[in-house]
């Protein structure tokens, strides 16, 4: 019966999962096709649906996958395998209708919920400047400072949030009987943490290889092996994606 269903590879994550800068540009069809998720789609003869976007947080990744399923999934006609590349747990987002335009910055996204534009994406390394021309955005810097205080002072809290997102998505997939694989592309959480370790046994490691081992995450594992492929924003190149794809294949594809 399943052979009559449309076979889909849903690929969610940040720019590392999107294959950004493989060809030197941030986002392109070539990059996505040669990312580890794109290679996995080709290898398994599945239609890739790319959801990955640059600079976003794990809460964005979680929400986008959930919304894709809420708006698109039909188990009668679709056979979905989901690849989730978790990003750095220190990233976060502010619920704020700031007028962002994710798609224009990530033109090769295949599906995008408009509500994702209602979040301002935060990283510790940069700050969105105040916009005094708009009263509601005139104090963005002070607002971000409150977020940065939590992100910077309590990295363990950020890891706990991301760990729960992973458990949430794991249970979601299992409740729908959807196949998936999760990987870390940057530092997500560490299962040696006092706060993660009591719950670490809840992770399905068969579906989340190297969960909680930051040194095994995509970027940190390959950045020294492939030192010459790092571009403007420290993304890895085609060889690293190919090797990570092989690693994932060996782990989950039988």
């Amino acid at each position: 019966m399943s052979s009559h269903k449309e076979k889909i590879m849903l690929i969610a994550g940040c720019s590392h999962t999107g294959g950004y800068e493989i060809d030197g540009t941030m986002d392109s069809e070539h990059n996505r096709a040669h990312s580890f998720g794109g290679l996995l789609a080709k290898h398994t003869n599945r239609k890739p649906i790319h959801l990955a976007a640059g600079g976003i947080s794990n809460s964005y990744i979680l929400r986008t996958v959930l919304l894709w399923f809420a708006n698109n999934y039909d188990p009668e006609t679709q056979d979905v395998f989901c690849v989730v590349g978790w990003t750095d747990s220190s990233r976060w987002e502010v619920p704020l209708a700031y007028g962002q335009d994710i798609v224009s910055n990530n033109p090769h996204i295949d599906w995008f919920p408009r509500s994702n534009n209602d979040y301002l994406h935060l990283q510790l390394s940069w700050i969105h400047p105040n916009r005094p021309d708009f009263p509601e955005f005139a104090h963005l810097e002070a607002m971000q400072e409150k977020y940065h205080n939590i992100m910077g002072e309590f990295p363990e809290q950020m890891e706990i949030l991301s760990f729960n997102y992973a458990l949430q998505l794991q249970s979601f997939f299992k409740s729908l009987n959807v196949d998936y694989v999760m990987v870390d592309t940057l530092h997500n959480f560490d299962t040696h943490s006092m706060w993660i370790s009591p719950l670490a046994s809840l992770i399905d490691y068969d579906r989340y290889p190297n969960a909680g081992t930051p040194s095994e995450s995509f970027y940190f594992k390959y950045r020294e092996k492939y030192p010459n492929v790092s571009r403007d924003y420290e993304h890895l190149g085609a060889e690293a994606h190919q090797e990570f794809f092989t690693e994932i294949c060996n782990h989950v594809i039988t």
């Binding site: 509500s115 809290q157 706990i160 729960n164 249970s171 409740s175």
Partner: protein, 243 residues
């Protein structure tokens, strides 16, 4: 957990006369279920999820145990900060049937009170200040955190085919929050009674109906409110066949 039903914060009487304790006595629904009350006073929704997951991890055997879960969500403005060995939950909640020891490694954060400074832990004040600034500035974000915790537990239960019912006891998530709206259809509203309606949360519902508890110092309802709410839950479970 029925705090202050009998005037004390925690007692076996309170727990057995809480809405969950009353519900479990319903012979229209349950035959021989035993109450395992793992509620703890003053905690956040993240505590509730963690303690529930740890209970299942350490106690649940689907071959020998049939479990029905009643989850009463707390106020979404509560949070917690990971801090090693900062509290003694069991000491403060002596009648809880089970509390994971790992829960002692969190400092509970609530807007309505502040842990006083302690000589052995001088950072306590500044930690709470940072969290309080965040919580008061971004209530919509706190709702999103609690919404995701509810979804996490919902799918945990459904993936294991464990029947449950959820309800809000305080202000949790408001479905009018524009950032909540995209998620609303994901919630199984048969199993989450009055989702997104803060005025129907246990505490506010009975406050508006004029129920009072003369024995309460900390705004907890008495036995009558708990009994009435247990009857509402009972009817809801029967109507929607939630067992």
């Amino acid at each position: 957990m029925g705090s202050e039903i009998d005037g004390t914060l925690d007692s076996h009487y309170n727990r057995s006369h809480s809405f969950a304790g009353q519900l479990i006595k319903s012979d229209r629904i349950f035959s021989d279920h035993k109450l395992v009350s793992i509620c703890v006073g003053g905690v956040s929704n993240s505590f509730i999820v963690r303690n529930t997951l740890l209970w299942f991890d350490k106690n649940y055997d689907p071959d020998t145990t049939e479990v029905f879960v009643i989850v009463g969500w707390a106020d979404s403005s509560r949070w917690e900060s990971p801090v090693l060995d900062i509290s003694d939950m069991k000491d403060d909640n002596p009648c809880a049937e089970w509390i994971a020891k790992e829960n002692d490694d969190y400092l509970g954060i609530s807007l309505v009170w502040t842990h006083p400074d302690r000589e052995e832990f001088p950072e306590q004040g500044s930690i709470q200040k940072t969290y309080h600034e965040f919580i008061t500035s971004f209530p919509e974000h706190m709702e999103l955190i609690s919404l995701n915790l509810a979804l996490q537990l919902q799918w945990f239960f459904s993936s294991k085919q464990i029947p449950y019912i959820m309800t809000d006891t305080l202000y949790n998530v408001n479905s009018e929050n524009p950032f909540v709206k995209p998620y609303i259809n994901m919630i199984d509203q048969n199993r989450y009674i009055n989702f997104g309606k803060p005025r129907d949360a246990f505490y506010y519902k009975y406050e508006s109906m004029g129920y009072s508890n003369d024995d309460s110092k900390y705004y907890h309802h008495g036995e009558k409110a708990h009994l009435h709410y247990s009857q509402i839950l009972e009817e809801h479970i029967l109507k929607h066949n939630l067992l």
